[in-house]
């Protein structure tokens, strides 16, 4: 039985160095990653945290090979997903002519766990925002329609 694994590939008009910076610099991640600032010295074995006032993710850096490969463990620190073990995220950055191929692989996930469901919805938004910011210099306005629609339905 295969374990759940989430793989997402995109192509971005940027350089491997700029993409590496976008994934590892807190001032930059804050602009596309639901407001999360990432903090780490990015040495293998070091801790990192992604935090906003009401949510955080933390873990340990497993691979740091700029600007080609970055991997870390992923612990959502949420009571929601608490019995689940920390999963693993790997970013592969490969130049392809004038663009860069980014592959995000999130694995070591628990079968039927909430983390798998959450990250499957989250990564496409985060990566869409990352790509837009690198290509246009502007943030995508992530404004989920659910709240407004709910009000309409409730009214």
């Amino acid at each position: 039985m295969s374990k759940p694994e989430f793989v997402y590939v995109t192509y971005i008009e940027t350089t491997p160095e700029k993409l590496w910076h976008a994934l590892t610099d807190g001032d930059f991640t804050e602009r596309y990653w639901f407001g999360h600032r990432v903090i780490s010295d990015w040495q293998v074995g070091s801790a990192y945290t992604f935090a906003t006032p009401d949510h955080s993710v933390e873990g340990t850096v497993l691979i740091s090979d700029p600007p080609k490969q970055l991997a870390y463990t992923w612990d959502t620190c949420s009571p929601d997903t608490h019995p689940e073990r920390p999963s693993r995220v790997t970013f592969d950055i490969e130049p392809r002519g004038k663009v860069v191929k980014l592959t995000v692989t999130h694995n070591n996930l628990d079968e039927g766990g909430k983390t798998f469901r959450n990250i499957s919805g989250g990564w496409p938004i985060v990566i869409a925002g990352l790509k837009s910011l690198l290509e246009t210099g502007r943030e995508l306005v992530i404004d989920p329609p659910s709240a407004a629609q709910k009000e309409k339905t409730d009214a």
């Binding site: 192509y11 938004i125 837009s132 246009t136 404004d143």
Partner: protein
Amino acid sequence: MPKPEFIYVTYIETTPEKLWQALTDGDFTERYWFGVRLRSDWKPGSTFEMVRTDGSVSDAGKVVECDPPRRLAYTFVNLSEKFKDDLPALATFVIEPYGKLVKLTLTHEGFADGSKFFQGISKGWPAILSGLKSLLETGQPLEIPYAALKFEEK
């Protein structure tokens, strides 16, 4: 054993109408789909074809669903010899407003077990849809080298 299925979600700063046009207008698809023009009158049951720059047809199928600017579905299969054992799988595009963005969900399903075509489309769609997003947001196509997809054939 789960059937092979490919799902890709992305968010684009555009309108549902512009995204619909980008998915159905051959002049537009040519700019981000590795030169491929889609050809159809987009009526359910009508023929659907992918036309290369030299005029030859690479893939063909039928329109299954057409509800602008919300849902588009068509079957297609690649016409080359190496995919002759493949079934015409169904690609469904769902377009949903998402605040100031549009959410695009592509589901491609109905492949034969062990389908070679499935491996091909799994590499192709991320490149095509990345190019589509860039073109709609920046006005410029992405220059992804076709060789970058590393299809097995040559």
